[in-house]
């Protein structure tokens, strides 16, 4: 049993137990985790205890939560009290936060059984998990290939059946791209929908937590649980979680689906073929395909790779070896800072800190960061115009299927291009999700990305559900 909703139904109806479910998943982890490396940490004992508690509650006739007994994994950049949270970085290795992230509290309150913390590109900076300080995660569908990133561990964990669902974070595509590459569903909600409190910040104005699941219904169920206003996050939208499961069967009849005519180049033919098939499926289901132009899309990469590193350079300055995490001892404070950060951060993280510090520094601010913020506005305006004519937009999630390890590690820019379709959504703050829609000639999955406007999750999920039915 893989599906979240089936697990909850089985446990609450008594046809199975949370303990049986968690053991089944732990067994799968035991069998394949050695080759996959989806996890930084598996909290098997705690998971067994939590499952036993759910079983007691069910037996006692108590009301259990919407995720009762569901084995879930967390990207290892979400704070879990007393449980190591590393961001796959040496600088935080061994750190046990004294508090839980809001999403973690929500999961616990809903009865989820947290099974472990998943691997990622260090501080969520990357598209392959090759930037993890603890070694990469392998794509469960072909272990010679990357799972995508940065939430590669969370995507792989669902794809391999280690958990029924997982949470990732998405700053420029870090949920959607690995979802596409691992053949699972991944959702980046509207910025402000899911609390960021306790999510270790990469780029604060772009980061958003979202679910990985094996189908659209599970994603809707999980997103309903983790969404909603959090007074601990000033950027949290003061509205209750949207009802998503209820709209899944409403179809797309009469909907206007956007096709971007000036999509950036560089997409593999297989991927474009599947995109056309997706439009056909939508047309067959009664939707109209409408051409839209997003002329600023070509500048997204530049805007993103100035804004995100700038924010990151500030967010990651706190790793200074003083209050938590690791320190390289030195006789002098400034030497300690430099030695700690030099040995604690990996290459990509350092590169982005350098780029961001430069973009914010005196004399360069206006030319780089200041300009990037204006380009961000252009992109947002482009989308606003497009959404006057369409309800959603479909694009590929990733320009290619899962690539081989090492194929892009020498060229940072080539790696950055993996995010070309996912980044615009983060800049605009909109929701988007990736739905598996067939495979390429290499038999690896291809994801179609459904984009919607701010708070457009219901519409987005209707289309995603339709795509899933057609796949």
């Amino acid at each position: 049993m893989h599906k979240l909703v089936e697990i909850v139904a089985g446990i609450t109806s008594g046809s199975t137990t949370a303990t049986a479910v968690v053991e089944e998943h732990l067994a799968r982890i035991k069998a394949r985790e050695g080759e996959i490396h989806a996890f930084n940490l598996v909290t098997a004992e705690q998971a067994r205890k939590d499952a036993a508690k759910i079983d007691e509650d069910v037996k006692a006739g108590k009301v259990v939560g919407a995720l009762a007994g569901v084995p879930i994994a967390l990207k290892d950049n979400m704070c879990t009290r007393g449980v190591e949270t590393t961001c796959s970085s040496k600088i935080l290795q061994g750190w046990k936060p004294p508090y839980d992230a809001t999403v973690v509290t929500k999961l616990r309150n809903a009865g989820a059984v947290i099974v472990g913390k998943t691997n990622l590109d260090e501080f969520a900076m990357g598209s392959s998990t090759e930037n993890s300080a603890f070694g990469p995660t392998k794509n469960p569908l072909d272990i010679s290939r990357v799972p995508g990133g940065s939430s590669g561990g969370s995507a792989a964990a669902v794809s391999a059946g280690f958990v029924a669902a997982s949470l990732g974070s998405d700053t420029g595509g870090s949920i959607r791209q690995p979802a596409a590459l691992c053949g699972v569903v991944g959702v980046k909600p509207t910025y402000g929908t899911v609390s960021r409190y306790g999510l270790v910040a990469f780029a604060s104005s772009l980061d958003q937590v979202g679910p990985f699941t094996s189908d659209v219904r599970d994603a809707a169920t999980l997103l309903e649980v983790i969404s909603g206003h959090d007074p601990m996050d000033s950027t949290s939208i003061p509205q209750p979680a949207a009802s998503l499961v209820s709209v899944l069967d409403q179809g797309v009849k009469g909907m206007r689906i956007g096709r971007v005519t000036d999509l950036p180049e560089g997409c593999e033919p297989d991927v474009l073929e599947r995109l056309e098939a997706a439009f056909d499926a939508m047309r067959n289901a009664g939707a109209t395909i409408v051409d839209v132009k997003l002329p600023s899309l070509q500048y997204c990469l530049t805007a993103y790779y100035l804004i995100a590193p700038a924010e990151a350079s500030s967010n990651l300055a706190r790793y200074d070896g003083v209050r938590y995490g690791n320190r390289v001892d030195s006789a002098d404070l400034n030497a300690m800072y430099a030695a700690t950060r030099e040995s604690g951060f990996g290459e990509e993280v350092k590169r982005r800190i350098m780029l961001g510090t430069y973009a914010l520094s005196a004399g360069y601010f206006d030319a780089y960061y200041g300009k990037a913020l204006k380009v961000r506005r252009l992109i947002s305006d482009d989308f606003a115009r497009a959404y006057q004519d369409v309800d959603v937009i479909l694009t590929p999630t990733s320009p290619s299927t899962a690539f081989k390890f090492g194929s892009k590690t020498d060229n940072p820019l080539a790696m950055y291009l993996c995010d070309v379709f996912t980044i615009p959504t983060n800049l605009a703050g909109h929701p988007a999700m990736s739905v598996p829609f067939g495979v390429g000639s290499d038999s690896m999955p291809i994801g179609i990305q459904v984009l919607a406007t701010t708070m457009g999750e219901q519409t987005m999920f209707k289309v995603a559900a339709e795509l899933e039915r057609a796949s």
Binding site: C87, W95, V200, S234, S313, A317, D320, R323, F365
Partner: protein, 480 residues
């Protein structure tokens, strides 16, 4: 002393002040961690205070309100504003950035009036967060330089601050002292801060430059660690002289930050402009704009108390004392001006009422225990010369100790009744006769000898004689 007349050769002083004030909130600027001075180290901490990964700031509404009170009391415009990150590394700064206000502060363009109708412009009064506290150990000095290690306490980290930046309108060190004193009085009056300079809840950075009239301002130095109103004056005087001496001996003033050493009475270089950090200010993405509604601003304005300057003016006029003088300042600062009015309403002598309260009610707070009518009765006894001023002082002490009472009965109990001038003269003559040596010395101009004579008279009158009257008689007799 301390005005520009002490600067030689036509040099003039230009001073601007940056005053940091900790706000009197229950919790911190951006989190629910307790804001309290003097607790055990690191016992008022939470994820936000420590800058833990994943922690996010949420603005304290009461801190905003207190900042608005300050702004409105300083005649500022309260405006829509934003928060920025000021990025720099220091162990007392947990996130390695301070959240502060940059190009859009909450309060702008105000002013503060000093005695003599001197108007000091207020450029801005903005919100920010305090840092933690480092203590340096080892080495010889206890200063950061040469220490072996430092220990950090983050209780103060994230405490709400308002930074009040004056325009460079201050021209004398006396004005600078008055400015700080007046600002402190306002902060206390509006309840925004306890403004204790000795505990660091009010801290001054002083910008000093010198120039000659008609020429542009000189290069300024910023002086830190100025921890009392007295030090403000001393530091400015020292720094102004240093700059003038430097220029006159052919040197140039470098823009730099200097440290005031209260013990040596000198300033010394802390860091120069060249090694100043590049703070990489950018809009804090974890916070949203603050746009105070007009109705909120109006409400805060309406709830502001009458400010100290107006209260001093009213008190001074009522009591016939100088509005810029010590008694009006002290009594208003202690919040005892309403009490003085009450005393006067009970028939008290206005001038004596305010002076009694100034001199004897330092420990009494805004609502002294002594009933206003009792104090009023005492001022009348003295005014009408029923008791001498010395006796009145004794009775005032009795009154405070007893927490009130019938002063006429108290005077009778002590056997106080003022002696008339005739009786006094007789006593003076008797004393001169009894102490001829002292009298001779006194007549020869030895003022110390007066003490023996007055002492003899006080003894013979059993303390009933008025010391001032006795002295006056002795002086007039000597002239003859």
């Amino acid at each position: 002393m301390s005005d520009n007349t002490t600067l030689p050769n036509g040099w003039q002083l230009v001073v601007g002040l940056e005053v940091h004030v900790e706000l009197a909130t229950k919790t911190k600027m951006f989190s629910a961690s307790t804001n309290r001075f003097g607790d055990e180290p690191n016992t008022n901490i939470d994820p936000v205070t420590l800058g833990l990964p994943g922690a996010l700031p949420v603005l304290n509404k009461h801190a905003v309100e207190l900042a608005m009170r300050i702004g409105l009391a300083l005649n500022c415009k309260v405006q829509p504003c934003t928060f920025h990150r000021k990025n720099y590394f220091y162990p007392d700064l947990p996130k390695a950035y301070q959240i502060t206000q940059y190009d859009h502060p909450l309060n702008v363009d105000g002013f503060l009036m000093l005695p003599g109708d001197v108007r000091i412009g207020i450029e801005r009064a903005h919100l920010e967060e305090d840092t933690g506290k480092s203590t340096h150990f080892g080495g010889s000095s206890g200063r950061i330089h040469g220490s072996d290690y430092s220990l950090l306490d983050y209780n103060r980290a994230g405490v709400p601050l308002v930074e009040i930046v004056s325009r460079p309108d201050i021209r004398t060190s006396e004005q600078a002292r008055q400015y700080v004193a007046e600002l402190r009085a306002i902060l206390l009056a509006v309840g925004a801060s306890d403004a204790k300079m000795e505990e660091g809840s009010m801290r001054c950075d002083v910008n000093v430059s010198v120039h000659k009239a008609g020429t542009p301002f000189g290069t300024r130095c910023e002086i830190k660690n100025v921890n009392s109103i007295r030090s403000v004056g001393r530091a400015i005087d020292y720094e102004a002289r240093r700059q003038v001496d430097l220029i006159e001996s052919g040197g140039t003033v470098r823009q730099e930050t200097r440290h005031w050493d209260d013990a040596t009475g000198r300033t010394e270089t802390l860091r120069t402009k060249e090694d100043a950090d590049d703070y990489r200010y950018f809009l804090e993405p974890d916070l949203v704009p603050l746009v105070p509604e007009q109705s909120w601003i109006d409400q805060v304005r309406a709830e502001l108390p009458v400010l100290p300057a107006r209260r001093r003016n009213a008190l001074a006029e009522l009591c016939g004392v100088d509005k810029d003088g010590e008694s009006a300042f002290v009594v208003v600062e202690r919040g005892q001006d309403e009490y003085v009015v009450e005393v006067i309403n009970c028939g008290g002598d206005p001038r004596r009422s305010v002076i009694y309260v100034q001199q004897a009610f330092a420990e009494q707070g805004p609502k002294p225990k002594v009933p206003a009518r009792d104090l009023a009765a005492l001022t009348i006894l003295e005014r009408d010369a029923k008791v001498t001023s010395t006796q009145a002082k004794t009775l005032l002490t009795d009154l405070i100790e007893a927490g009130g009472g019938d002063v006429v009965a108290m005077a009778a109990k002590r056997g106080f009744e003022a002696l008339d001038t005739g009786a006094l003269e007789a006593m003076v003559d008797a004393a001169i006769a009894a102490e001829p040596g002292a009298w001779q010395k006194y007549c020869a101009g030895e003022e110390k000898a007066l003490g023996a004579l007055v002492g003899a008279i006080m003894k013979s009158s059993k303390g009933k004689a008025d010391g001032k009257a006795v002295t006056a008689i002795l002086q007039s007799k000597r002239k003859k």
